[in-house]
């Protein structure tokens, strides 16, 4: 029986919010043993960002928190306390990978940055990630979230209407982009370490990772000398019809991309006479009369449910899909067929769904998906198992205030 690829790998996640903890979630899904180190006093702010189970706030009730931290164990530690620091250093000697996301400068002042830790564990792979990275003239002291990272990456500017201020994608976008780049680098570093025994330090700017999803816009600027502008409407200006169309209901939309010949004739069959206009016969005609084309399609979609339009068009062979909301995900039969959502049972919030792994392996299993850890739920176990403390020593640490 094959084992999860990273079974036995030891990871410390001392980060918060989404970008860096999501890297540790990837590693947990591959079987790594991930310890989430938190301060009970300065908790992961994701614990206080909804949506909460049943709408009731609480540090263990945020569904985003569970989605990002599933499968980890939590240890609370005050690293400024003498005993807390000693316990942390024991964990550093144990770890293969450490991920931190402090504002640049903070890890140095806490003496937990790579130069401090490498002597204790030369094979260590350590990631420091922040909005602008740990090196460079604007990095020190620059705090941010994915909502500021996306502005530094150029994403905010590119998403919006030409006649309105830039709006950007919804949510802290770089938090979703960055983990793939960092996790790929961690896995590559593990590959090298297997071969050479070398550890390494990985400095990752979340804004710089974000730029990679926009690289065609950079090449447009670098080669053509034009700085790309936001253009509002969805889809490509070189395709028609291609965009989002209004449907019945509250803020309901369907995306349709039927520019290619077979898809266009399928769409025409379904929509009927409104698209019989001779101007729409050719691609060039559709491009020149895009407004009339979009108006005719909107007149067809406007009084129908988005799901109905999706099904009708797809059945005829025209690419279409509802612009999905959170409520759509919860009932989506494709996601059920994927088995993407997994039932977790948490002592505090009970049974709920969270996300499973992003991909499927034919041979190596994923470990079962567990809830995100309750604050400090494994502090004592980990200090015993991993750091080698006795119960009496753990009591002494607690009395000192090092386990807050």
């Amino acid at each position: 029986m094959a084992r999860p690829p990273l079974q036995g790998l030891k990871v410390i996640d001392m980060a918060w919010l989404m970008a860096a903890p999501e890297c540790a979630r990837y590693l947990a899904d591959l079987g790594a043993d991930v310890i989430k180190i938190e301060s009970g006093v300065r908790r992961d702010p994701l614990r206080s960002l909804g949506n909460y189970k049943d709408g009731v706030p609480g540090p263990n009730r945020s569904l985003s928190y569970h989605a990002i931290n599933a499968g980890k164990r939590s240890l609370t530690l005050d690293m400024k306390a003498r005993g807390g620091r000693e316990a942390f250093l024991r964990l550093v000697r144990w770890a293969d990978v450490i991920i931190e996301a402090f504002t640049p400068g903070v890890a140095d002042s806490l003496e937990v940055s790579y130069p401090h830790l490498k002597p204790l564990n030369p094979g260590l792979i350590m990631v420091s990630t922040s909005i602008l990275g740990s090196k460079g003239p604007a990095s020190q002291g620059l705090s941010g979230t994915g909502s500021t990272g996306l502005a530094f990456a150029g994403a905010k500017y590119l998403v919006g209407w030409p006649d309105r201020p830039p709006e950007g994608p919804n949510g802290p976008w770089t938090d979703s982009v960055t983990p793939r780049f960092i996790t790929s680098t961690i896995l590559s570093a593990l590959h090298r370490r297997q071969r050479t025994g070398q550890g390494c330090f990985i400095d990752a700017s979340q804004a710089e990772c974000g730029i990679h999803f926009l690289m065609p816009a950079w090449f447009d600027y670098a080669v053509n000398g034009v700085s790309p502008e936001r253009r509002g409407s969805a889809g490509s200006p070189l395709r028609a019809p291609c965009g989002v169309y209004p449907c019945a209901g509250d803020d309901r939309w369907v995306a349709i991309d039927a520019s290619d010949a077979p898809a266009w004739s399928a769409l025409r069959t379904i929509v009927g006479p409104a698209l019989d206009d001779l101007r729409f016969d050719t691609l060039v005609g559709r491009l020149r009369n895009r407004d009339a084309l979009d108006a005719a399609i909107s007149a067809f979609t406007r009084d129908k449910s988005a799901d109905a339009v999706e099904h009708m068009l797809q059945a005829a062979g025209a690419p279409a899909h509802v612009v999905c909301t959170a409520a759509d995900f919860a009932t989506d039969e494709d996601l059920q067929a994927e088995g993407y959502y997994r039932l977790i049972n948490d002592p505090e919030i009970g049974s709920t769904m969270t996300r499973g792994p992003q991909v499927n392996f034919s041979r190596t299993p994923h470990p079962p998906v567990r809830p995100g850890p309750r604050l400090g739920d494994s502090t004592r176990d980990l200090l015993r198992e991993v750091a080698g403390y006795s119960d009496a020593e753990i009591d002494a640490l607690d009395a000192e205030g090092a386990l807050r």
Partner: protein, 409 residues
């Protein structure tokens, strides 16, 4: 970059494989992109050099295929499949994208057990959307990220650059390397199934699971006005564009918001008594429109202050005073931002049909003992076909010419 210097990857090029192959190439792998003789679909994605189309003019192709070699091969022909089968013997990994209308050329090839086969596909083959026709726009809609983007009086906003192929490609890179690590344990390869729809959902973040909360769902808001609360992440006009300021009074964000208010006060735009408001009462947001008076005053003060400063001046103030701000950067701003320059983000390369010199913000990570470099720009169509067939398979000049005559390459 040498992290993956001993890893060899064949990429059967398709939009969702392009970023996957490039990330692996950036990290040091030897990546060969295989295209049909008429060119990969990625060569027909805009923008184009000088706004003129052509197989060597797609800047999307050039942005996502540097650090690879490229060859052509008609994998629909028996000869093409035989050559592909021989090539697979010499590579660790093959990455492909499949769809209901395009069966995989690998189906008829017997694969050795050590091979890692990464498949990117749109929807579940076992669900009701198995036969769905997809494009990048369709997968982004199914991914849900755009649903809350933009103001509620207009349609939801999408990026002007295809993003589903980026999401799928980046996800496939992680998946590929996961299987590589697994193989190092026991020598066995496997099939890695990468659903592009799930990859595209990453951008929906918390909304992936919030439908199960029983809580009230977020909705899009009407256009912002001067009377809108400055809470949350606000977009504020400044002297040379816009700046984003994060203002929240809950938990860890409260201290940074206090620093922001202190800055506005010290700059003389907010009276000390308004600045001394007990802001913690807005920790859970503020009800009503117009918002409470202190928030209105703060919003107006921020607009006045930012209006006389540049983006980069506001960023400097944010570092000095300890609050969260970011310039709304254009590609030109990214070019001019001294931090990115001095940090070493950029690498020299060439692009366009005439190989003009450009700089690329290539270093998505920086290592203390190694660097991402651009070893080669994106391959021209069939640039390395002869080289790969001769070096890897030992084909003679005559044989390679024959394959060309028969349109196999």
């Amino acid at each position: 970059m040498g992290l993956l210097r001993d890893v060899r990857v064949l990429e059967i090029s398709s939009p969702p494989t392009m970023l996957a192959g490039r990330i692996l190439g950036d990290l040091g792998a030897d990546v060969v992109a295989i295209e049909p003789p008429r060119g990969a679909p990625g060569r027909r994605i805009e923008p184009f050099a000088d706004g003129e189309p052509g197989l060597e003019r797609s800047l999307t192709w050039q942005a996502l295929n540097y650090n690879k070699r490229g060859m052509t091969l008609d994998t629909a022909s028996a000869d093409g499949r035989a050559l592909l089968s021989d090539l697979l013997e010499r590579f660790d990994i093959v990455i492909e994208a499949t769809s209901p209308s395009e069966p995989s050329p690998l189906e008829e090839i017997s694969l050795r057990p050590e091979l890692i086969r990464v498949q990117v596909r749109p929807f579940s083959p076992h669900g009701p959307k198995a036969a769905y026709r997809t494009t990048d726009l369709i997968l982004m809609a199914a991914g849900g990220a755009p649903a809350l983007a933009g103001e509620s009086d207009r349609p939801p906003l999408f990026f002007p650059i295809p993003q589903a192929m980026m999401e799928a490609g980046a996800e496939a890179a992680v998946a590929t390397l996961s299987a590589l690590i697994a193989r190092e344990r026991d020598g066995e390869g496997q099939i890695v199934d990468t659903p592009a729809r799930i990859a595209a959902m990453a951008g929906a973040m918390g909304r992936i699971v919030s439908g199960f909360s029983g809580d009230t769902m977020s909705r899009r808001m009407p256009p912002a006005s001067e009377n809108t609360s400055p809470l949350a992440t606000s977009n504020i006009p400044c002297a040379d564009g816009y700046v984003v300021l994060s203002l929240a009074f809950a938990g860890a964000f409260a201290a940074m918001s206090a620093n922001l208010i202190g800055w506005v006060r010290d700059e003389g735009e907010l009276t000390p008594d308004i600045a001394a408001t007990d802001w913690s009462r807005y920790a859970r947001g503020a009800e009503g429109s117009p918002p409470p008076e202190p928030l209105q005053e703060l919003g107006a003060a921020l607009r006045r202050l930012c209006g006389r400063l540049t983006k980069f001046e506001i960023v400097e103030a944010s570092r000095k005073h300890g609050f969260m701000a970011a310039p709304v950067m254009t590609m030109k701003d990214i070019d001019l931002f001294p931090h990115y320059r001095e940090r070493g983000l950029f690498v020299a390369s060439t692009a366009g049909p005439d190989g003009r010199p450009i700089e690329v913000p290539a270093r998505f990570v920086q290592l203390e003992d190694d660097e991402i470099e651009i070893r080669s720009p994106a391959p021209r169509l069939s640039q390395h076909t002869t080289e790969v067939l001769a070096q890897e398979l030992g084909l003679t000049k005559t044989e390679i010419q024959a394959l060309y005559v028969h349109e196999v390459i």
